[in-house]
């Protein structure tokens, strides 16, 4: 089996550092310009990647010897972050026979809450293709990133997101090795960045205001392994202060199978 993550991977380029303990985990991510929006603040879609990695790791540790699949992920931002690093702390809310629920708070360098997130995981019987979580824990340890890793362009651009139809919130993204998870599918946290791009395009078009995504609730239905992935969006409401959209993500290369349904909130600004 090829080592995961490969040398060129978003986990390295986002410079995530994580430590999965028993019952709690901690991770950090530098706030670099490529992860910030045009308001100069850290994007919600960048935070979903951090949150997905830390919660998935903790859930996998918790569910051992079984394996897990992300069922849903929610993120609510409470303030902006534009410099330094953010720290995510995850804890187990529930470790049941069929479900693991994780809560994650994300704080800035001063300890102020930037976002609160939750993630639910379905517990599945372990299969041979499932990675050894202890090996992943080692791979994610500090100091193992390639020396030239780092994000040198906007995260969405690096993922390859292109806006096809802003008014209808249609964006497309390829499935590349850079963004695959350990199961070979498009990484669940990066899905957040795609959903964010789609909703932001649609809500800005509808409102005429520079709304930024602050809340994401994504329900994962199927993996996206082929690509390109494509969104379709419905704007529920939008004015110059707030907008709400529903976004669906499909894998056009897999008979347009529905991967994710999401509800997204965007607001004018964060404190």
């Amino acid at each position: 089996m090829t080592a995961y993550p490969p040398p060129r991977h978003l986990l390295w380029d986002l410079q995530l550092r994580f430590d999965h303990g028993d019952g709690a985990s901690r991770a950090t991510m530098p706030v670099v310009p490529g992860l910030c929006g045009d308001d100069g603040q850290l994007r919600a879609g960048a935070l979903t990647t951090l949150v997905d990695v830390i919660s998935g790791g903790l859930a996998a540790v918790t569910a051992q010897p079984n394996w897990i699949a992300t069922a849903d992920l929610t993120l609510h931002m409470t303030r902006g972050a534009s410099t330094g690093a953010v720290e995510a702390n995850a804890r187990v809310l529930r470790a049941g026979r069929t479900t693991v629920v994780i809560e994650i708070d994300v704080v800035d360098g001063g300890g102020a809450l930037v976002a609160l997130a939750t993630a639910s995981f379905a517990v599945l019987p372990r299969r041979d293709i499932n990675p050894d979580i202890n090996r992943v824990r080692e791979a994610g340890a500090p100091g193992t990133a390639a020396p030239d890793s780092g994000l040198t362009m906007p995260y969405g651009e690096r993922l390859g997101i292109t806006v096809v139809d802003a008014a209808h919130g249609v964006v497309e993204v390829p499935v590349t090795d850079w963004a695959r998870n350990s199961m070979g599918a498009f990484q669940g946290g990066a899905v957040g960045a795609v959903l964010e791009a789609a909703a932001e395009a649609a809500l800005r078009d509808a409102s005429g205001a520079p709304l930024v995504v602050t809340d994401i609730h994504a329900t994962y239905l199927n993996f996206g392994k082929v690509g390109p992935l494509r969104t379709r969006s419905v704007v529920h409401t939008a004015d110059d202060q707030r907008g709400v959209a529903r976004v669906e993500l499909i894998d056009t290369g897999a008979e347009s199978r529905l991967m994710t349904v999401a509800r997204i909130v965007a607001t004018r600004s964060l404190p």
């Binding site: 809560e103 809450l113 609160l116 939750t118 529920h236 349904v261 909130v265 607001t267």
Partner: protein, 249 residues
């Protein structure tokens, strides 16, 4: 199994099964379901969402099992002021362990979408086996007599430090003997101030003993309102039973 739960009678939920597996429901917007602003309380809308989504998911889990709610999320898009209220639930995915159902709630009097929600349920095999239904299913034609007490009175809610508390009387329990998920939603909304615009609610453990207490903690204030974390606790069992993140206007 009790076919019509008390909370279903109180809210006045009527549900029926469509040929394609969708569950469609209606509720007359009676006075006892309205909040101080005259619109349907978000908590009662959550109950409708849980009822329609849960039934839809449960039927999808047959014949192997039935379901319990594990995660309920909704965004309230516009107030429901006229009624009747229409619910439409559809299954998005049936997995080995869980079922995902989406629920749209609209105000038929105005034609606007009121709430867009999703309910995730775990599939379980009850000791007595899954419930037996006559298909296509029709549920809730039996209404409670009018007038009904207002919500806070019916729930016997009292204010406590940082939140609200209610007893766990029989009328608040579902057929499994635990507090109905929709009532947990009502309690979460009340604890957060009753002006919920967005909620994600994780059911962590059943409420079996009572009283049940919900306490809210503000996380931050944004241009569109306040974000709070709400803990629900079975005081008698001394454990946290649900956690919610609530945005309020």
């Amino acid at each position: 199994m009790t076919v019509v739960e008390e909370v279903t009678r109180y809210v006045g939920v009527e549900l029926h099964e469509e040929d394609d597996g969708r569950i469609v429901g209606h509720v007359d917007l009676a006075d006892h379901l309205r909040g101080p602003d005259g619109a349907a309380r978000p908590g009662t809308l959550l109950t409708m969402l849980d009822s329609a989504g849960g039934l839809c998911a449960g039927l999808a889990a047959l014949p192997e099992g039935w379901v319990v709610s594990t995660n309920l999320a909704a965004r309230f898009v516009a107030p429901a002021r006229v009624g009747p209220i229409r619910m439409e639930a559809a299954v998005s995915r049936v997995g080995r362990n869980n079922v995902v159902a989406t629920v749209a709630i609209s105000d038929e009097g105005t034609g606007v979408l009121v709430a867009d929600g999703v309910l995730t349920s775990a599939i379980l095999v009850p000791e007595q086996g899954p419930p037996q239904w006559t298909r296509p299913l029709v549920l809730g034609r039996e209404r409670a007599p009018e007038p009904q007490p207002m919500l806070t009175e019916w729930l016997q809610v009292r204010t406590v430090d940082g939140g609200v508390e209610m007893p766990l009387d029989e009328i608040y329990r579902n057929p499994w003997g635990i507090m109905h998920g929709g009532i947990v939603g009502m309690l979460v909304d009340l604890a957060a101030g009753g002006r919920t615009t967005d909620v994600v609610l994780h059911f962590l453990a059943p409420n079996r003993v009572g009283p049940v207490r919900a306490t809210a903690r503000p996380l931050g204030t944004r241009s569109d309102g306040t974000v709070q974390r709400v803990d629900v606790r079975d005081v008698g069992a001394d454990r946290v039973t649900a956690v919610a993140i609530v945005s309020s206007s």
